[in-house]
């Protein structure tokens, strides 16, 4: 469908809002906006990071999801206890596809679920004893773990357990760090606060553990922050940085280890991919250790080249040459990918609804393929994310914050994009409407999408989704126009 004008988009928002009761309509209107690149501050056009309306369908997560699922979970050589009832940990187990190397159950624990499995009696009498027992059991059964984090689920905060005391006592006994994380699900309005709490707990319990210890530094030490190695993303980013001559000391937290995290304060530059979930710790390291941080974007060749040059600008000429060398090396490969897929995807439109960094970061990758992002939105962004998004998005495109199931469906029904990038909860709703969808949370079980190698996979996947022949078979033969059927029948006979 052709692009909407500003007036049409505004009318569309009004039309969608009409079904709500007055109070809800007033509230939701603040979260929907038409992009205007001339606006300097997002809060003038869109409100974000507010409590979802009761009664509407939101796809947000909770603080526990932000801490255990996003920030802590991928640290592979630690054991993350889901402290509380069994479900929170079990239903989110291994769903995020944070790849790692190691022997699961021996020295790495990424895809395993450790839980204290709260029962009625633990709620009534408190779960501290159970936690202490669990910690002792872990030490006995998995002696190669490097540390434990206790990820609180809702009941822990409600019944007032003192997990800090248990953690301190246990840490002393087994001489390994135990980090209590107060990330009860009811805190905050979305998973975003969980990221913040997790960052703060790393700051308070882990980050300064190796201060003053010797470290063989080089002038080219960097760390990758906010890359969760979904489908191998951090690896395809890391090789580019290493190829240009940098030394990646730590990965936060995809395929990361506790030792890497502890060594991060020794690096020269923090490279921040997911701003939303890890800007807190980057700001802390900037203040305490004087390490500058830099946001970068490894989606699509244009943005990668831009980012590599921006990273190199923080270093000397060898790195700058290295960056140019890397860009030149991959140039032919990227040209081949674009030559293959751009003619098939040129002019197609995309609507995105994801979280974290992707609603703005992947825009460049789609544009490299000749596609256009005509609507984007975040589940749990704050104003600073929209400040950054407004510049990336075209004028008169649609912005939606914490979109409800109804709004998203209506927008997509009306705008009819050629592709939707969202999650599993949206996938089959829209595919049944006849619109291809790629999951942009888990890369639809594919990936990596970061880096040059990732872009080739990204391009292939988007083409697979859009050019799939099934989309032309949506109407059954008996519902097709009779004349069309007759003529084709006649042709066959002839």
């Amino acid at each position: 469908m052709s692009e909407l004008t500003r007036e049409e988009t505004e009318a569309l928002i009004q039309e969608v809002l009409e079904v709500y009761p007055e109070k809800a309509r007033k509230d939701r209107a603040k979260h929907l906006a038409v992009n205007d690149q001339s606006v300097e501050q997002s809060k003038k056009c869109i409100t974000s990071n507010r409590k979802s309306l009761p009664g509407v369908m939101t796809v947000r997560g909770c603080a526990y999801a932000g801490s255990k699922g996003v920030v802590w979970g991928p640290i592979k050589d630690m054991i993350h206890i889901s402290h509380g009832p069994v479900g929170c940990g079990q239903y989110s187990r291994a769903g995020r596809r944070n790849y790692y190397v190691g022997t699961t159950g021996v020295d790495t624990f990424g895809t395993m679920n450790f839980t204290s499995d709260f029962q009625e009696k633990d709620i009534v009498f408190g779960g501290d004893k159970k936690l202490a027992k669990l910690i002792a059991e872990i030490e006995q059964l998995f002696p190669l773990h490097k540390g434990i984090s206790v990820q609180s689920e809702c009941p822990i905060g409600l019944i007032g357990d003192d997990i800090e005391a248990v953690a301190k006592k246990g840490a002393k006994e087994m001489n390994k760090p135990i980090v209590p994380v107060r990330c009860e699900g009811f805190r905050g309005v979305s998973q975003s606060l969980g990221h913040h709490i997790a960052n703060d707990s790393i700051r308070d319990w882990v980050l300064d553990k190796r201060d003053g210890q010797p470290f063989e530094a080089t002038p080219y030490d960097v760390s990758i922050i906010g890359d969760y190695n979904i489908g191998g993303d951090a690896w395809s980013s890391r090789i580019l940085l290493e190829e240009m001559g940098l030394r990646v000391v730590s990965q936060w937290s995809g395929d990361g280890t506790l030792a890497e995290i502890e060594k991060t304060p020794k690096v020269k530059l923090n490279l921040l991919h997911c701003y939303r979930s890890m800007n807190y710790i980057s700001r802390h390291m900037e203040e305490k250790y004087g390490i500058p941080w830099l946001e970068y974007n490894f989606f699509g060749p244009t943005k990668i080249a831009e980012s590599l040059r921006a990273i190199a600008a923080h270093f000397d000429d060898t790195i700058k040459e290295g960056a140019e060398r890397v860009i030149a090396k991959y140039q032919p490969m990227m040209e081949a990918v674009i030559a293959k897929y751009k003619p098939r995807l040129q002019g197609k439109t995309v609507m995105l609804y994801v979280g974290g960094l992707r609603p703005r970061h992947v825009i460049g990758a789609y544009e490299d393929l000749g596609m256009k992002v005509i609507g984007t939105g975040y589940e749990f962004a704050h104003n600073d994310d929209y400040d950054r998004t407004i510049k990336e998005m075209g004028n008169a495109t649609l912005l939606y914050d914490d979109a409800t199931g109804f709004e998203l469906e209506e927008f997509i029904k009306r705008i009819k994009p050629d592709l939707v990038g969202s999650g599993i909860k949206e996938k089959y709703v829209f595919q049944k409407m006849g619109i291809p969808l790629r999951q942009m949370h888990s890369w639809d079980y594919s990936g990596p999408y970061h880096g040059y190698d990732g872009f080739a996979i990204f391009a292939r996947d988007m083409d697979m989704a859009i050019s799939n022949p099934c989309w032309s078979k949506q109407t059954p033969p008996w519902k097709k126009l009779p004349e069309a059927a007759e003529t084709s029948e006649l042709k066959k006979v002839a």
Partner: protein
């Protein structure tokens, strides 16, 4: 009183960050900005105003400070 962080951006201008609200904004004016007296009333780009107890110029940025809110648009 709120915990804030003042940092210098790439161009050398002061920027303001309020962790609790994830509010990041440019500081458009600062009452005192000299080596021996620094701080006072600061005004943000979004129209908000905070008060930092005047003090000697901090040796390094970014720095976390306590500030009093005078006027905030939110």
């Amino acid at each position: 009183m709120a915990n804030i962080m003042v940092r210098k951006d790439a161009a050398g201008a002061y920027s303001f960050y309020l962790p609790k609200r994830d509010l990041e904004d440019a500081i458009v004016s600062m009452e005192f900005d000299s080596a021996d007296k620094w701080g006072g009333e600061i005004r943000l780009n979004n129209g908000g105003a905070y008060y930092i107890e005047p003090q000697a110029l901090p040796g390094r940025f970014p720095i976390s400070l306590r500030a009093r809110r005078l006027d905030a648009p939110e």
